[in-house]
């Protein structure tokens, strides 16, 4: 038996079990908090900073995906201020690398695009950084275009936690940070990749895509396999 906590999100009374996060309870109650690194079924890392919420009595903002609920907490998930922060953070993701929606395989199937639309982001005040970024198309079935990577690391986590291959990881730091396969070798030469495609499936943008898809044809119909895998793992006590 776990303890049930009642608390408020945006003035709405909600309830959740001890150990749940603000994000989980918000989702259950139909309160949409934007997020790009969060994905149900894999561990959260609180890195995209889109799900930042205000908690009454705390001077600091908290990432909803990493904040455990407590009895009586008063969460503000939507405010003018948070909207401005979220817009700017989304803007930062757009200007970091070279996102060109018009020619992207994920055009119209992209969570970054969706987030911008939801937040009413119509243009970027920040200048583009325009770095020179590589594409790795050495894998038989898939490719990665680092121009479109927002470093949510869903691929790294799904590969490690669900597939168990740990093909993906990260290298370098700051703006130079890149996801990499094995120890930085081309994806096609990876000896650990099982070609399961989970990384492609969970990628929120067009960074990871199936080869042979034309612009805007990279629809990733959500298969419910991640939560399912999680249930299986829990049943087996893994």
């Amino acid at each position: 038996m776990s303890t049930v906590f009642t608390f408020r999100i945006d003035g709405k009374d909600v309830a959740g079990s001890e150990g749940q996060t603000v994000m989980e309870v918000a989702e259950e109650n139909g309160i949409d908090i934007p997020a790009l690194c969060h994905l149900e079924g894999i561990h959260d890392r609180g890195a995209c900073r889109l799900c930042m919420v205000e908690i009454a009595g705390s001077p600091k903002l908290a990432a909803a995906c990493m904040t455990k609920i407590t009895e009586g907490m008063d969460v503000t998930a939507h405010s003018e201020l948070l909207l401005e922060y979220r817009r700017t953070v989304t803007e930062m993701m757009f200007v970091e690398r070279n996102h060109v929606c018009a020619v992207c395989v994920a055009n119209n199937h992209c969570e970054l695009q969706d987030t911008a639309e939801e937040l009413g982001l119509t243009h970027f005040d920040l200048p583009r950084i325009s770095p020179k970024v590589d594409i790795d198309a050495s894998h038989r079935l898939f490719a990665i275009d680092h121009n479109r990577c927002i470093l949510c690391l869903r691929c790294v986590r799904v590969c490690d936690e669900i597939e168990g291959a740990h093909t993906w990881d990260i290298m370098h730091r700051g703006l130079e940070t890149r996801v990499q396969t094995d120890m930085g070798i081309p994806w096609g030469e990876s000896t650990t990749c099982t070609s399961c495609g989970k990384c492609v499936q969970v990628c929120p943008t067009g960074a990871l895509f199936e080869k042979g898809r034309a612009v805007a044809r990279g629809s990733k119909t959500r298969r419910p396999f991640l939560p399912w895998m999680k249930v299986v793992a829990e049943e087996r006590g893994l």
């Binding site: 900073r49 930042m52 700017t88 930062m92 700051g174 703006l175």
Partner: protein, 551 residues
């Protein structure tokens, strides 16, 4: 490397004769062998001094290597311990003067004042600095070393130890100033059978070298402090996370650990009690963010050194998810002295909620570059002018930067402010680890802000978006201003963006990254405006494109 004659090999107690002489020497020369003086051939000086003294037939003198003597600007330094006479800028070929001085020392001589740089200091964490051979356990014990630990183990309980630390008012010297006693109590009371103590020696602020000097000069003190902390929080294992860029500190720590283990001050059954505690060293690979405690823990665990959101705090869920006490070098270095001299003594020093002393590394345009320890509450003017000897070339003081890349710049009008955690925060700066960079009128404050932003951008681990992208955006805006190409809209954007990064970044590095911008804008807004509106750099540092070319 030629083999030195045995007689000239510099070791403590080894008086320069054919045989080892354990009698107290008539005269002793202390040669600073900390990193700064070592880089200026201090070790050669020790060797040469030994040779020359032997040639001069001095059989009753001691040549001893010691840790940092503090006045790095005048290094390499040699001190005649009996008289306090100091020799600066010593060259290995010019040690005759020191030999002569050694000859003259009489048993009746007493230490003479060495000037305000030394006299105005109050040494607690650095009390053995420049006095003991950092690789000699006996020397440490002779100066009161391990007294505190022995008393703790034989007379005290973990509760009374924590109580004394709490009463002393000691606060974290790594920057934020969290009450040390409270932290220890949290770890002690946290659920868990296995607990750890970590010494954070990943000093990385530009211009800061306090921890380095303490580690190089008095490594046993850290081990003692850690052992006491471990006893107080029920930990049995400790780690020292030291950056690999400090090879001398690491080497001396390794020696100290080995000697302490051999003497029963580390390992199983410390000081013949049932208390077990051992220490390992972990080397940082040069990432600034690994000084952040959660990133540090990840790095110790062998993972990529990136921070994670807190809570849970390491005190509850730290190294390998066990309750973990993380204290900075200087904090731990203060512990043995506090317990030896009593918490009331320590709490009697300082001002307000900032008790005790603080070690500062003086750098920048200051005469006496070096390391000092002063009581909290001393004014900036005393630190900069009395101890620091004022500004190089007698130029006007402009500002002092404290707190590293998360800190700020304090202008001349606050020179008479007393330094404490609270006063620095009030002025928009930060105590930080104790780096104190002095600037004169040749520094452009926009350029200074740009320098620190460049540092933050380079050191961002890349985990969270506001820091990874935002610091670069701030840097680009500052670059635009220093090139004279910015508009007032850019300045507004700079302030807006800085505010957002401060609130949304994941860890202290990102949240603190805008601080140098905020503080320079607060006190030197006119310099920003000069770059933007008049397109001139008042200090003449920035190269500004002439307005007519711009059009």
């Amino acid at each position: 490397m030629s083999e030195m004659p045995a007689a000239a090999r510099p070791t403590r107690r080894r008086v320069i004769t054919e045989e080892i002489n354990d009698e107290a020497p008539r005269a002793s020369a202390y040669v600073c062998e900390a990193a700064s003086c070592m880089s200026a051939q201090a070790h050669d000086i020790t060797l040469r001094l030994g040779e020359r003294a032997a040639e001069a037939g001095l059989t009753d003198v001691m040549i001893k290597r010691v840790g940092c003597l503090g006045l790095c600007a005048a290094g390499p330094l040699v001190e005649i311990a009996e008289t306090g006479q100091l020799f600066g800028h010593v060259k290995p070929d010019e040690v005759e003067g020191i030999v002569k001085a050694l000859k003259k020392v009489k048993p009746t001589d007493t230490r003479q004042p060495q000037g305000p740089f030394f006299e105005k200091q109050l040494r607690v964490a650095t009390e053995n600095m420049g006095r003991i051979d950092p690789e000699d356990l006996d020397d440490y014990i002779e100066r009161g070393g391990y007294e505190a630990l022995k008393r703790v183990l034989s007379e005290m309980t973990s509760t009374t130890v924590r109580d004394e630390i709490t009463r002393s008012g000691l606060r974290g010297r790594g920057g934020a100033g969290f009450p040390t006693g409270l932290k220890w109590t949290t770890v002690a009371k946290a659920q868990g059978t296995q607990k750890y103590v970590i010494c954070n020696a990943d000093e990385g602020d530009p211009g800061a070298f306090m921890d380095r000097s303490v580690l190089e000069s008095d490594p046993f003190r850290i081990l003692e402090g850690m052992a006491i902390a471990a006893f107080a929080v029920h930990a049995t294992e400790g780690y020292i996370y030291c950056r690999a860029e400090y090879p001398l500190a690491v080497a001396r720590l390794r020696t100290a650990i080995r000697l302490a283990q051999r003497a029963g001050y580390l390992g199983a059954g410390i000081a013949e009690t049932s208390f077990n505690f051992d220490v390992q060293i972990r080397l940082g690979a040069g990432a600034f963010v690994c000084g952040e405690e959660t990133a540090l823990i990840a790095s110790v665990e062998g993972r990529r050194g990136t921070p994670r959101p807190r809570p849970p705090y390491p005190a509850v869920q730290g190294l390998w998810d066990c309750p973990t006490l993380i204290n900075n070098v200087e904090t731990l270095a203060s512990v043995p002295t506090i317990l030896r001299k009593g918490p009331e003594w320590y709490a009697g020093i300082g001002v307000g909620k900032s008790k005790g002393t603080k070690v500062f590394a003086l750098a920048g345009r200051i005469v006496n570059t070096g390391l000092v320890e002063v009581p909290m509450g001393m004014t900036l003017r005393e630190i900069v002018y009395d101890i620091g000897g004022g500004i190089v070339d007698g130029r006007p003081f402009k500002a002092v930067q404290t707190g590293g890349p998360s800190g700020g710049c304090i202008p001349a009008e606050f020179l008479d402010m007393s330094v404490s955690y609270e006063s620095l925060i009030e002025l928009g700066s930060f105590m930080g680890s104790g780096g104190l960079i002095v600037m004169d009128d040749t520094s452009c404050m926009v350029d200074v802000a740009k320098y620190f932003q460049d540092f933050c951008r380079d050191e961002s681990c890349g985990k969270c978006v506001p820091c990874r992208v935002g610091t670069t955006q701030l840097y680009m805006l500052l670059d635009l201003i220093t090139r004279g190409e910015a508009t007032m809209e850019d300045l507004a954007q700079l302030e807006r963006l800085a505010g957002i990064i401060q609130r949304t970044a994941l860890c202290g590095l990102g949240q603190g990254a805008p601080n140098p911008i905020f503080s320079t804008l607060r006190y030197f807004r006119d310099e920003y405006l000069a770059h933007i509106v008049d397109r001139v750099c008042p200090a003449g540092v920035c190269t500004i494109t002439p307005a007519e070319v711009m059009a």
